[in-house]
């Protein structure tokens, strides 16, 4: 089995059947073994150590005041029968004031993700993704009434009794693809990226498309290159803010690049030898883009 991508395959059993058990949830939320993660404006509680940043997970006793004041309380799941919850404390200006943790701070997973462990990364990514969904779905898209969180934070229901639509977490499928032409692959960059960084092409799947259709459409739109032999590699949850990345390899049918400048600043063909000599130009270590490129370099 291939190693899972970063942020995937976390340590929790999601225990979906517990989401509709209010008594069990209330008991577990205050159980001394329980572990609680905070999410504040899409950031996580982190402390710096000699080994780098480490996420801080609280006990119910430590988080007691915040449990009362959290906008959302979400059951993440179970690990070795220990329940893990996440609290959204974004409405508080200074949630740290409720905690005696002077060296802790809230940090963005985009910054600390590549520096923490795989299991920790997966748990933080899962919580971040759910809280982003809650924040974007406070009102019902069908009727405009407020929604409320039910099922331990995994469903939002419209509070208008004439509507009462249930809304489920949203995850946007996006394809990301390494296009190859013999010993060269196609990498591009967006103007907003770190200078000198190049990556695989990517884009969102539209209604009425297969993943393979989306790969071909995005590559053609962004670079004018037609592809075939579109072949699945792996997938990765990517909660920045709400995607699942679906990784593919594809073979180019054209060589000449015509960059769509509304999407990309530039795109070029790179040989394996060149990329091996220039690892500094590759995307971040926690990304499926990096994985697609590194796996291709070993082919």
């Amino acid at each position: 089995m291939k190693l899972p991508n970063f942020y995937a395959s976390g340590p929790l059993d999601r225990a979906g059947h517990r989401r509709k058990s209010p008594d069990w949830l209330a008991e577990r939320l205050r159980h001394p073994d329980t572990r609680i993660q905070l999410v504040w404006r899409s950031q996580h509680l982190v402390i710096d150590t000699a080994e780098g940043p480490r996420p801080i997970i609280l006990t119910p006793a430590l988080a007691s005041d915040l449990i009362e004041r959290a906008a959302e309380v979400v059951l993440l799941g179970l690990a070795d029968d220990v329940a893990h919850f996440a609290l959204d404390v974004s409405a508080l200006e200074t949630p740290l004031a409720a905690l005696d943790l002077p060296e802790a701070s809230f940090r963005d997973l985009r910054a600390v993700g590549p520096l923490i462990g795989r299991d920790e990364g997966a748990m933080l990514a899962y919580a971040r993704g759910l809280m982003h969904w809650h924040a974007r779905h406070r009102f019902c898209g069908v009727c405009g009434a407020p929604t409320e969180s039910i099922d331990a934070g995994h469903v939002r229901r419209c509070t208008n009794p004439d509507c009462a639509t249930s809304h489920f977490p949203r995850t946007d499928p996006a394809v990301i693809m390494l296009v190859e032409d013999g010993d060269k692959c196609l990498l591009g960059r967006q103007a907003v990226w770190t200078p000198g960084m190049y990556s695989t092409l990517a884009g969102f799947v539209e209604p009425g498309e297969s993943l393979e259709d989306a790969v071909a459409r995005e590559v053609f739109e962004e670079t004018g290159i037609r592809v075939d032999s579109v072949c699945y590699h792996s997938s990765q949850p990517w909660p920045f803010p709400a995607s699942i990345m679906l990784g593919f390899y594809a073979k180019a049918l054209d060589r000449a690049i015509r960059v769509d400048e509304t999407e990309l600043e530039e795109a070029h063909w790179y040989s394996r030898a060149y990329l091996k000599d220039h690892p500094e130009m590759l995307p971040r270590r926690d990304s499926i883009a990096r994985r697609l490129i590194e796996d291709w370099l070993t082919l």
Copy 2:
């Protein structure tokens, strides 16, 4: 190359760069070559012929009155430089009254899909999916204000100037998987299905999961069976109402089935020989489930 799944790989160039060209859109919407599809309460305009049901696509002249009264006008794309649009006429009680087509009727793609051509099926599925998204996102999830359609029907924007959030079409990723144990595969059925029909297991991907994680979780939740060797097969847009189906094969690590009766009515192991003798129990011809099973039967 494998044959695409039904509803995928439609004949249209989506022409995304035209979505922000109001003059071009206005001119094309009335151009005599243009073709216009109606969507009424998730149904499509169909006429019965000796060869079976056929979708009816209108000219701008025929649809003129409905263009004025449509809740949504969406650019689907171009085929041979002919623009294809879809109109949402759901707000009208009797849209057929505006047309001189006495033998036409609105029919559900779930019923006519298996009886029409691949290209027609893909175009209807695409339009249905987009119109369902519009209907479910008339209000902004962030602030509750009304949204408005922009970019030729491919974006909805919040009309509250202090919010102005852009909302993009939603497609829910769902995994669907054939679990095998040697010469047998695992099929189940939900109580609401046509009696006697069995299919592969399936379920929605949750935030923080890879597709492969979701396959393993869903199979375990529904049947108590653990899997490995989770291997991608293909994907299919499935606008009933808003999914993309992501097809996998997986190998069972257990044999004993424990059905979760909140999800399934029953599940069993079936041999290739049995399934070949009982094609009447297989899912509908236009589904990726059918494809997964039929491809497995030939392995």
